[in-house]
Subunit: 119 residues, 2 copies
DNA sequence: CTGTAAATTTACGTGAACGTCAAATCCGGG
DNA sequence: CCCGGATTTGACGTTCACGTAAATTTACAG
C-alpha cells in the first residue's frame, strides 16, 4: 500500500513508532497506524532519523492533561518548528546556488551556440 | 574550524569528495577544499547521502568543453533542482501541520487558563 | 481435523558514515 | 642528528535502518 516491506513495519514497531493491534498473532493496522506510517515515510524522505520522527509523533499523540505538560509540549513543538525552518532555509540556499550555476551554464551554452552559428 | 574530525575529512577524501594537496605527507586544505567541505556539511545536515552530494559537487567543478556535455550537466542540474523543490514542499507541509498542532495546543492551554481564573 | 499458505519470530547479514586504537611515519627545534 | 609531538596509515569496531534466510506458528479452506 505504501511500498514498504513487512520488515520495515515491524522495525518501526520495535522502536516504538507503531503499536498495531493484534487479532491473535496477526497485526492489524488501523487508520491511525496508516497515518503514522505516512508521516514516518515523509520524515524519512527528508532525512530525519527515526528518533527525530518519534519526537514529532509524540507531539501529535500527546494528550496533556497537566498545564505544565501542555506548556512542555508547546515548547518542544516550537523547537521542532525552528529546526524545520532552518532546514528550509538551507535548502533554499542550495536552490539559489544551483539556479546561479544553471544560469552560468546556460549563458556559456548560448555563447557556444552563437559561436557555432557564426562559423 | 568546521567542527569536523580528521577521520571525517579523510573519509570524504577516500570516497572522492576531496582531493587536498600534499606537502610531503601532510594534507593541505586549500580555500577550494574548505568551500567544498562547507557544501558537504550543509548537504549532510539536510539529509543528503554522500553520493548525492557528490553529484552536486560534480555539477560545480564540471568544466564542459563539449556542447553535449554541457547540455548533460544542465539536465542533471535541473533534475537536482526538482528534487530540492520537492523536498522544500515536503518540509513546508510538515511545517504547516506543526503550526496547526501548535494552534490547537495553544487554544486548549488558553481554555485551561481561563477555567483556572474562574475557579 | 489436516494440510498448506501466510504471518511471525529469531537471528544473523549489510551498507553507509564515520569512531577508535595501535603502529608506523613524518617533521621541526635544539 | 635526534627526539618528541603531530600526522598518517591500516584495521577493526559501531550505530542506524533495515534485508534476508530459516524455523515456527498461525490461520483457514476443505
Amino acid at each position: 500500500m505504501f511500498d514498504v516491506t513487512p520488515r520495515t513495519l515491524r522495525y518501526y514497531e520495535e522502536v516504538g513508532l507503531l503499536q498495531p493491534e493484534r487479532r491473535g498473532a496477526q497485526r492489524l493496522y488501523t487508520d491511525r497506524d496508516r497515518v503514522r506510517i505516512q508521516l514516518i515515510l515523509r520524515g524519512r524522505r527528508i532525512g530525519f532519523s527515526l528518533p527525530e520522527i518519534a519526537e514529532m509523533l509524540e507531539l501529535y499523540d500527546a494528550d496533556p492533561t497537566e498545564i505544565t505538560q501542555l506548556r512542555d509540549v508547546l515548547r518542544r513543538g516550537d523547537r521542532k518548528l525552528a529546526e524545520i525552518d532552518q532546514q528550509i532555509r538551507e535548502l533554499q540556499a542550495i536552490r539559489e546556488e544551483l539556479l546561479e550555476l544553471r544560469d552560468r551554464l546556460q549563458r556559456t551554452l548560448d555563447e557556444k551556440l552563437k559561436g557555432r552559428d557564426l562559423s
